[in-house]
Amino acid sequence: MNTQSNIPAELFEPAVARPTLDVAVASALPFWPALRRQLRSDARAIVSLLVIFILVIAAVAGRGLWPLDPAQQILGSAAQGSMRAQRALVVRTTIDEPIIELSPAALLPAPQLASPQHLQVLEATTERVKFRWKLVAGAHSYRIYRNTHAPRDHADLGLPLGFTTARGQVSFSDGLLLRPRDYFYSVVASDGADEAKTFATLTITPQPAIGLLEAQLQGLVAADVHDVTSAPQTVLLPAHPLGTDHLGRDLLARLLQGARVSLFIAISAALLYVALGLVYGAVAGFAGGAIDHWMMRIADFVIALPFLLFMILLRIAFGIAPGESGVMPLVIALVLLSWPSTARLVRGQVLQLREEPYISAAQLAGAGNLYIIFRHLLPNMLGVILVTLAFAIPNAIFTEAFLSFIGMGVTPPATSWGAMSSDGVQNLLIHPTELIWPALCISVTVLAFNLLGDALRDALDMKVQR
């Protein structure tokens, strides 16, 4: 093969400049820069860190961000959807006096009930809608329905609001969760036994309004104002971007307060118990022998306690003094029950690291135990600790939510996302947003920390593999 002799002879001379033998191994980056580089290339990490950052800012800024008082109840605007700031007429709510129209015709039974005629609006504010109609011959009473679209037929009249009670009553007033939008009121006559098949419909658009007393309570109107009929005035009602809850409290303000409480519990409990576990595990692992044995026995016992049961138990045991929010007992109970898993993990790491040659070298060189722990052991365990922390926080959030949900967590007037969800579940069918927002907050926060934990673990695994 290839034996043709046409190769220049000088090519067979020894090579001069040869590349040096590549023995140098790429030097490893220190912990933080390496981690940062890994995380920066991970979309999960970026998104979750961003979300966590926003949440923490929101929780810390709190009322600086949205000044409404989270505890203020505005019963007049309970369970509302998203609302812009709006002008509202101040009205004085008086007792409703029904209009009675008695005529002999009404008393005589009629073979056929006609549909009511001449429907007429008397009041149209969100505080009260009132309307009347002409007497229908033979009608015993009238049933009133309300719908949000024009009824198509007799079966489509909408929400039955009630029926007139007084004989000859030809008016009706409605104050049930009114919003400034179109309502279709239908009136159906009834002879006491059967409802007529005919009906009359009236479209009413209530004007935004607030009761005088309510306005005074909120400080929107001076306390000495009594007459608003002769001198009508309007006030500016605050916006509720996320609406209000069943007690008329601003949901956004409450979410922010809840964020502060939930995140405080989760982050402080997680930090505390990871720190406690770290110290405990490091001491046990470093001491070894009988001390280690007994320390770990204690940890084993605490791990054996059914976690949520004992959270409940401890929470009861700590009790709640009047005026307390239940936050501190929760944090303490969380710390008391959660530290052993971190302690086990850290102890395992310490036992492993202790065998590393550079540790024994440091010991031989006369380094003190504390020096070794802080200079060698802790930096080497940073990765594991970070991952533990990232997963500890969502667990604490879940625990808080669970306890608050069964009424064993944060108590009023303080609130948390868990406590808000608990309220929201009660009102789910009439006002789902009250559950959806706090639930979304819990889920997004937990999701963010879980994703961050995953990203951290992958990043650190990769570092180990290199």
């Binding site: 093969m1 290839n2 002799s5 020894p14 033998l21 023995v23």
Partner: protein, 347 residues
């Protein structure tokens, strides 16, 4: 050359073609990794006759295992055969589908891997794992397969085979498990046994037992053996021919005696020199590291570590020079124009 001599040679060649069990032509395999495409095999040519024992030697990472896995269609998902052909018993296996492979593997090609402890299913009895391969390829009843697997274990000189067949892999010692692995590989009397570093994970004392067993099996059954190792001591004991791999290429190939006593390639010579001192891991004994296969050099892969490197060595691919019909090497030192044509043992 006289007339008669050339006709003898021709007839020899004809029998060789008929006897040929395995032929690999210009096999090229690429592996996708996060760090780029590793050119694991860069044009491998290899032939194996029926009943022949070929040793494939080379440093770790030179592509021996990838070659073995290509032959049995077991390349990892990330790897792809991007060029070349493989013929097994005159059949081109490149386009084999799963069914065709399953007829071949375990039945006509047996495989023994490096680490017996991790190569057995930990949650299945050893006897069942042997019986399983018998039932997949032979029309045997469950009891017959069990009986046969006990016989096979006995044949591998495992004491108390019936009881052993009933045990789990973790109850076996490494050497015993490797013998069970061999039993599994030869259960269906394959034409080719591929053993990928079968003794590397074992104690030195146990290594000899396993090698004896392999030799004995070959003598009795006449199967061909592709033995992968990096221990030249083993090569001398068992192989007919040797192929030396370096950086995804076969850089020297020849009869065991000629190759070991008169290596034609500086790398083979270096291996030879390194072998007696550090039998297990001579990687340290040859200074330097193999080239990065994500970006292999265009010239000789050994250039950076070679004492004899010449200017021509980086000048494109090194041709395969034939010393004789059986012995060939990829080194410019064999070029007739080269004055220094004796690769010395001192590297």
């Amino acid at each position: 050359m006289s007339e008669s001599a050339s006709s003898v040679e021709l007839s020899n060649q004809a029998t060789a073609a008929a006897n040929q069990l395995l032929r690999i032509d210009q096999l090229t395999v690429h592996i996708n990794t996060p760090h780029g495409v590793v050119q694991a095999l860069r044009g491998i040519d290899l032939q194996l006759r029926a009943g022949e024992a070929l040793a494939l030697v080379g440093e770790s990472g030179s592509g021996k295992s990838i070659t073995a896995l290509s032959i049995s269609g077991l390349l990892p998902e990330s790897a792809a055969m991007v060029g070349g052909d493989i013929f097994f018993a005159q059949q081109r296996v490149n386009e084999f589908d799963q069914r065709a492979w399953n007829k071949l593997r375990g039945s006509r090609i047996g495989m023994v891997f490096q680490n017996p402890m991790s190569s057995f299913n930990p949650s299945m009895r050893v006897g069942d794992q042997i019986a399983e391969v018998l039932r997949a390829h032979r029309d045997l009843s469950k009891t017959a397969a069990r009986l046969r697997s006990v016989q096979l274990l006995e044949r591998m000189r495992i004491a108390d085979a019936a009881a052993r067949a009933h045990q789990y892999p973790f109850e076996f010692s490494g050497g015993m498990l490797q013998r069970a692995m061999i039993a599994m590989a030869v259960a269906c009397e394959p034409q080719l046994l591929i053993a990928d570093e079968p003794t590397t994970a074992l104690d030195v004392t146990v290594q000899a037992e396993v090698l004896d067993l392999l030799r004995e099996l070959r003598r009795d059954s006449g199967m061909a053996l592709l033995l992968i190792t990096h221990d030249l001591g083993i090569v001398a004991q068992i192989a007919d021919r040797v192929a030396v791999m370096y950086a995804g290429q076969i850089i020297e190939q020849g009869p065991v005696g000629a190759l070991l006593h008169a290596p034609a390639h500086p790398y083979t010579a270096a291996l030879q020199a390194a072998a007696p001192t550090i039998a297990q891991d001579f990687l340290q004994a040859i200074p330097g590291t193999p080239p990065d296969l994500t970006n292999p050099p265009s010239g000789c892969g050994f250039y950076a570590r070679c004492k004899h490197a010449m200017r021509i060595c980086m000048d494109g691919a090194v041709p395969n020079f034939e010393l004789n019909a059986q012995h060939a090497s990829r080194c410019w030192l064999l070029h007739p124009q080269c004055k220094n044509s004796e690769p010395s043992v001192d590297v």
